[in-house]
Symmetry: C2
Subunit: 432 residues, 2 copies
């Protein structure tokens, strides 16, 4: 074996099969991609044991990617319901699925998912620890947390969220600085509870070298979790969030020393005017590592519509430097998402990602819109449906209400601006 | 009568009852508001004949307002269906309704709407002309177009869209510069067809002084329509759009000479990275007049989801200077919206407006979010529902799937970060 990780290969001047595939998908030069992987600006999460993987790159100069969360849990243990979501998410061509399973036969679920999915698979090992060892949280040891990470790595997980930034120093800042919503990260809150109950340092921080060994061996990309991401507009860009980001930047350098690929997780809830500054701050403090954001949600007051609050924030974030968007569904803050919620969340997130890719001038992005607009100008409805992000919904909406003049729609009918302008420019009479 | 229009009053140093109400709603000083109305930075659309009106201001330093479109048309002549929309829109506290009725008993509809609505009412008189005179478009005269405007003004309409910017000069630029989607403005396309068929100048441009007389008499605010707004990402910020904006800026100054209040209509479809520049351009070319945008839609490829594409663009536009957002529904580009589509469109647009108001630091904006986040931190579900933009949907979503531990939700159940962090900070045991 000439290399352990994509980063090691890149640094040795090797263009891997994964790099070739990613370069072709992104229409960029293989050597440029190799250099970005070597420098950590791009990650290609690709566990050696994930045989079905069709690799994707995440980072500077590449298309914005999106992630879907699912998995079995105490309140939703149904394998088949979750696998129906998996199939739908894959149909909709999401680039990543995070398996957040936290209860029941989590390993069986994970293995079946890895066998099924060409999309990269991420996990948060700490969610799985309590169930796997069947012990109270506070009875788990640092070795247990590392063991569960090792199991996920061996199973073939492509990236893992590791909340190593909430160490004793960050906790001290958290206690000094009053927040409205203290910790809203599930994994972060579990580690915080464990640290406070045991008096120990965060195991992933204390044993970060062992984390790196495990991830290096299987080429697991570390997604450094932001345990202190703001859970409200009021908490955004505060000292606790920034303190943790400083730690994450330091851990990034340590990972890179071991050729381990890293991305950084980000907010959260955040006012629209703070997003661009946060993207700049992350890219500086974390040395250009790819940024993976959850939202940001640009207001706290819209439960039931957080796919929209996060599409607004995600579009601006991705335009300003974020590389990877975690989807948010209309069910956020209220309950587990249904299949329909998932679809709404995926489409909203794809809109945000694509809008940002147009804004960034990525090759192929605005060309899609141009094709759609040409079809629209020609009133070619079949072509419009084919080009739509969600062809089925577009077709259904139109067919629910058909106009008298069939090349128009019921919004304007015979007053259709497109039809009438076409007629006028051809010198034909407009009858309205 | 001491004054004809709010602007004339403001210039004479008079603080009108409408200004007092608006200043109180916005928590700003009456004298500051008066100065802004005098200078044209703020409009208070308030026709003397709209008795039910509860006035609102639109412009610099005020909350972002939103508009809903509805009305009877050839494909949807049902009065009651449209009045159900009116009632719902008023329940949801939209600040403006545009009656785009184009067929049938349009005057009866308009009068009933004005009697019903405390929200300001806008119209596009040109839509109504063909039906009112019962003649072919090309057989209408300039006098007919002015007559229909006069009727709307007398009926009590607070603001009217007048597409006076698509004059012969703009048409010449349109023909010189190839566009993907030439004219997507319904009113603009009708005037273009009329101009091409008759060989005449745009009647609203040619007789702009008469337009001003009518609007001055009843204090109708002119919303200068952008006939050449981009209908595709490809056409945005092109010479045709900017040419028309130059004309609109010149017409703004002429209106202000007659104390007539003016706002400017804007895009349209536009890449995310062009929006801020367009807001700056509009405010400069149109001398600080309030900006009323339709979208902008940040991608063309999402029919069925254009409430989301436009919420993204609208939020960024409003943060960057736009003052008034026209709602867009999921039915845009496909058919007339249903009642449900209208609600989705209103909420999406309210999210965009509120996100921008937070970003602009408007008084009272972020305080709402703070209350919500405090309720969230306290796991006070009843308070969260009360504070939600759509309380009914938030409540329904949660109740569809209740968790075993009642103060959490099924997203995380007993792994709820908020619950566990609260317990940890209180020194209590977390059982997961």
């Amino acid at each position: 074996m000439k290399y352990h990780t994509q980063m090691e290969a890149a640094r040795k001047g090797i263009i891997t099969p994964e790099m070739k595939k990613v370069a072709a998908k992104e229409s960029i030069d293989e050597e440029t991609l190799r250099r970005k992987v070597a420098e950590g600006q791009v990650v290609i999460p690709a566990n050696r044991n994930h045989q079905r993987l069709d690799p994707e790159g995440i980072g500077e100069g590449l298309r914005t990617k999106i992630n879907v969360n699912l998995g079995v849990s105490h309140d939703c243990p149904d394998f088949e319901a979750e696998f129906e979501k998996v199939r739908k998410a894959l149909d909709l061509k999401v680039e990543a699925i995070m398996d957040l399973s936290s209860c029941g036969k989590t390993r069986e679920f994970r293995k079946r998912l890895l066998e099924t999915s060409p999309a990269m698979i991420g996990t948060v090992p700490v969610y799985d620890a309590v169930g796997y060892f069947d012990r109270e949280l506070t009875e788990l040891t640092a070795a247990d947390f590392l063991k569960i990470l090792e199991i996920h790595a061996e199973d073939g997980v492509d990236f893992v969220t590791i909340h190593a930034g909430i160490n004793r120093e960050t906790v001290a800042h958290l206690k000094l600085n009053s927040r409205v919503t203290n910790i809203v990260s599930r994994g972060g809150s579990l580690l915080f509870a464990w640290m406070e109950a045991t008096g120990n340092e965060n195991p992933f921080f204390e044993h970060f070298d062992r984390v790196l060994e495990i991830c290096r061996e299987h080429d697991v990309t570390i997604s450094l979790g932001d345990a202190c991401r703001p859970g409200s507009i009021a908490d955004a860009t505060d000292s606790v969030q920034v303190q943790e980001l400083i730690i994450l930047g330091e851990l990034t350098k340590r990972a890179w020393e071991q050729d381990v690929q890293v991305m950084i997780e980000g907010p959260g809830h955040m006012a629209l005017n703070e997003i661009a500054a946060n993207m700049t701050l992350q890219k500086k403090l974390c040395h250009g590592a790819p940024f993976y954001v959850l939202g940001p949600l640009v207001t706290d007051v819209a439960p039931g519509y957080d796919h929209i609050t996060s599409a607004i924030g995600g579009a601006v974030a991705a335009m300003s430097g974020a590389d990877f968007l975690c989807y948010v569904t209309p069910a956020e803050h209220l309950r587990l998402p249904t299949l329909d919620d998932m679809v709404e969340g995926i489409i909203a997130t794809k809109i945000a990602a694509h809008a940002a890719d147009i804004a960034k001038g990525l090759p192929g992005a605005k060309e899609w819109d141009l094709e759609m607009s040409k079809a629209r100008a020609a009133l070619d409805w079949e072509k419009m449906f084919q080009l739509a992000l969600d062809p089925e919904k577009a077709r259904r909406f139109r067919e629910e209400s058909l106009p008298e003049i069939r090349d128009t729609c019921t919004m304007c009918g015979k007053m259709c601006a497109v039809r009438n302008t076409n007629l006028t420019l051809r010198g034909e009479k407009v009858g309205v």
